[in-house]
Subunit: 283 residues, 2 copies
Amino acid sequence: MTVTSVHDPSHREALWELEDAFERGDLISVFGRCTVAYEGRAASDLGIGDRLLVLKPDGAALVHTDEGRQPVNWQPPGSEHRAAVREGRLRVRSTRTNPDETLTVRFERVHQLSAMAVTGGRDLTLHGSEEDLRTRILERPDLIEPGFEPTATERPSSAGPMDIFGVDADGTPVVVELKRRRVGPDAVGQLARYVRALREELGATAEERGDGGDDGGNGDDGGDGDDGDDGDDGDDSGSDAARDDPSPAVRGILVAPSITGRAAERLADRGFDHVALEPTPED
Amino acid sequence: MTVTSVHDPSHREALWELEDAFERGDLISVFGRCTVAYEGRAASDLGIGDRLLVLKPDGAALVHTDEGRQPVNWQPPGSEHRAAVREGRLRVRSTRTNPDETLTVRFERVHQLSAMAVTGGRDLTLHGSEEDLRTRILERPDLIEPGFEPTATERPSSAGPMDIFGVDADGTPVVVELKRRRVGPDAVGQLARYVRALREELGATAEERGDGGDDGGNGDDGGDGDDGDDGDDGDDSGSDAARDDPSPAVRGILVAPSITGRAAERLADRGFDHVALEPTPED
DNA sequence: ACTTGAATATCGTGC
DNA sequence: GCACGATGTTCAAGT
C-alpha cells in the first residue's frame, strides 16, 4: 500500500503515523484544529483554527487555511521536521538554520492524517516563457519588422547580455529586449541601458555616420549620460537632445504582448519602438 | 462531522465526494496519481505521477509534489472548480478569466480524498515588517541619530512617497528610506531619487543655506572615498555640483539591518548615511 | 556563499 | 481595473 491514512486519531496515534511517514520519506497531509507560531526572519502567531498542514520529505512545510494561494505559514525546503506529544497535544515543529527559523504547529485535535510515498513525475515542461519568445523571433525575424536580421543572442555588453542583437533593413544595429508579458516603465529603462552601452561601444562608428552621435552639452563627462537609469526617475523631460535624433546609431525595440501607458511615453521619449508579440502564437 | 474522508475511492465515488465538498465550501486535499496541464499566461504539462491536489473554497488550487515550497502548478483565488468523470478517470478543472487560465488535473487513480469545513482562525499577527521598523523609529527617533525629528511619513514627492521625512539637529531636511532586511545598490538608487526630488523642490532654499555647518558624523565606519564609479546608473549627474557639497541641502539616510559592499560604495559616493537597525529590537 | 534577476510570482494599497 | 511596491517573497543562475 502506498498510502496510509487515519481518521480522527488520538494524538499518540497521529504521532506514530507521522514518525513512520517521516521515516519512509512520505508526502504528508494533516487536517486539524491548531495554533501556529513562527519565529525567524520575522515572527508571527496564529490563533486556534482549522488548517491543513503539508509536510514534504525535502523539509518543506506548509500551513494552509481556506483562503489564498500562499500558505499562511511555511518553512522552506531543507528544514527538519520533528513531532512529539506535549501536554497531551500533537506538536509538529520544523526548524532550519541560516537563518535560524522555527515553525511550530500545535494540534488541539487531528481530524485526518494521510501520507503517500511519491514516485516519479518530475518532468514538467513549461511553454510560453521568454525563451519561447526568442525562439519564435529567431525563426521568423520578420515578426519584428521586414528586413530585420538577428545576428546574436545574449550578446554581452557593459550593461549585461542583451536578449537579441541584430541589424535592420538599413544596416542599423538593433537591440531587442524581450518580455513575455505586459511590461511597465522598468523594461524601457533596461532597454535604454543596453542601447546606451552599445552606442558607447560603437561610438566611433556613429561619428563617422555623421549623425552627431553625442550632444555637445555634457561632452566632458562622456560615459555618464543620465537617461539609462534603472528606476523610474527619468521623468524630467528634455534633459538630452541626442535621444530625439531622427537617425540614432543604435535602435531599441521592446517586444512584449502589451505595455503600460507610462512605458509607452518613455519609449517615445527615447525614440524606441514597441512590437506587440506573444511568446506563443495566438489561437 | 466536520471532516469527510475516503480511501481508495472509485472515480465516481471521488466525484460525489468532491461535488459535496464544493457545495459545502470545504478545504479539500486529494492524493493521487495524475497528469496536470496548465494553459494561460504560460502553458505547462506534467506527466503522470503521485501528487497532492489542494482545492480551496475561494477558488485557489494547488498541485504539490514531494519537493519545493512552491506548488508545481496552481490556480489563484477567484477561480472556479469543477469535477467530472471523463474516459473513466476523475478530472478536476479549475478555470478563471482575466486572464483566461485553465488548470486540469486528470487522475488515473485517487488514493485518498479528504475535505474539511474550515471555521475561524484568521487572526494572523505578523511582527518584524517594514511597518514595525517605521513605528520603532517614530517612537524613538534618536535611533537614527541624536536630534533627528520626523515630521512626516509617506510624504509625497515627484519620485513617489518617501518612507520618513524629517530634520536633523541642524534643521537640515532628511529623507529616510526603510528596508526591513539586508539591501543592495538598488535601495541606494531609490533613496537618491527621493533626495534629488526634494533638492529640486527646495532648490531656492538650498542656495541660501550655503553655510559651513557640517554634520558631526554618526560614529559608524566612514566609507572609503574611492571614485571607482562604474557609472551604470548615474542617476543624479544632472545636479552634479550639489552632490559634492559638504553641507548638502538635503540628507539621505538608509535604514536597514545591513547593506552589501556595493551599496556601501554608492552610499559613500552620494554622501548618504547608513543606520543599522532591525525592525524589532534584538534580544 | 553572495549577488543578481525572473516569476504563471502573490498580495495589498492607492489612483 | 491598472499600476506600484513589499514579501519571512521563492527560485535558478552566475560570480
